[in-house]
Symmetry: C2
Subunit: 270 residues, 2 copies
Amino acid sequence: MELWFDEMHTPNVRLGFRIKRELEHVRSEYQDIHVFETYDYGNLLVIDGTVQTTERDEYIYHEMIVHVPMLTHPNPRRVLIIGGGDGGAAREALKHDPEEVHVVEIDEMVVKLSKKYFPGIARAYEDPRVNLHIGDGIEFVKNNGDFDVIIIDSTDPVGPAAGLFEEEFYRNLKNALRPGGVVAQQCGSPFYNPGEACKARSELQKVFKYARLYLAYIPTYPSGMWSFVIASDEVIKRRRDTKFSTRYYTDALYDSSMVLPKFVEESCKD
Amino acid sequence: MELWFDEMHTPNVRLGFRIKRELEHVRSEYQDIHVFETYDYGNLLVIDGTVQTTERDEYIYHEMIVHVPMLTHPNPRRVLIIGGGDGGAAREALKHDPEEVHVVEIDEMVVKLSKKYFPGIARAYEDPRVNLHIGDGIEFVKNNGDFDVIIIDSTDPVGPAAGLFEEEFYRNLKNALRPGGVVAQQCGSPFYNPGEACKARSELQKVFKYARLYLAYIPTYPSGMWSFVIASDEVIKRRRDTKFSTRYYTDALYDSSMVLPKFVEESCKD
């Protein structure tokens, strides 16, 4: 017998993983969460039918959502991660020797399952500089501040994450940043949803002086092409060299990841 | 009823396309060929169970395998395409106003089906500068020469294409090039098969002074990350600006596509 989990990238396209077993299936207060043990990708976290992270390729997403904004800041001391309950973004942020990393995850179940099934990702929580807040990121940024870098490591802009892609939220983000602060956010597949990335960039451009899209190859996400947006009131450029080891990110990729295929730029003009 | 074609990227990972109908299934002298009409990707050509081309995303592969080597050459007059029976590489090569484009396809059935089901790709054959040769590319390069650019647009290095990834073939390629000639070849997914790209580059480096890998996002190929190798005895750099329209390639992407993620470079050191 073969057991497969297929994510529907569209109603007519699917990416399937053969699985050894279902490790967990929980309906949390917010979402439907599965953890599978796969043959090729290690453990796999699925929320509402969407691949969130796999042990095999999680480093790509986590390195790219973290190192690009962190290296854009000259000296990030206080870091806020909205979402990111698996701990992967916090793990990468710690490589920059910050004083504090705050993770605001709405769904405690994500943290609990990550600690149990993704210890290589969730090990960030063992570090005393990492502070976990279970709550709504939208509310959190209204009441907290003095961050150097804010990373929005959320699910896609449907369901609980929808408010994380709106101008009002971005204005509150800006207020929660120190001068010269930097924001980064995941923005989905520009191949399947070009509007999502373009909208995030244009909304951020209303609030910050500079906003740019960048891309990474993520084999387990729809189309394999994933976008992020970075924004700041300072020019977006790399201000420090990387002094730690990585598996995907390189300092040369910082710039090249911001060079977009023609169709991505074109789709933003519509 | 739903009808799906799933390509097995590994025995444990599959990418599926929901199809309206099977347009054709032929066992040619060389391979097992399907043409499907899909819901999301237009018509889809499958050879030996492997996605070759879809109407929706073929431009990415064809632009990247052609424009990078063509723009590396100062003035490509005579172009050879080995494989590429669908006509897509020839179509892109014509944008550079060459005198002659020669396509050497081993399997006449690929040409026939492409003309019937992929007219937007196969329209290159209507151009009098395009010369189609049905035959073995390995033999062809032993007996023909004076090319400025040679593009190896083959299936993967198993089956009829295996000999296209070996040093002896590369030596014959070099003899078939004019001085300053440029070669490019597709090399598979560096995520699933890092050895394939690394081997092609190192074999080409035995024969040419310079060889570099470059990448493109191809949603319908395994992992979405696809590699190409380019080789020449001249420094590999862009020598001309693009004067025609593209949908993926840009002159800025020429350089950034050669900036490799860390794991790709690392895997070549093994």
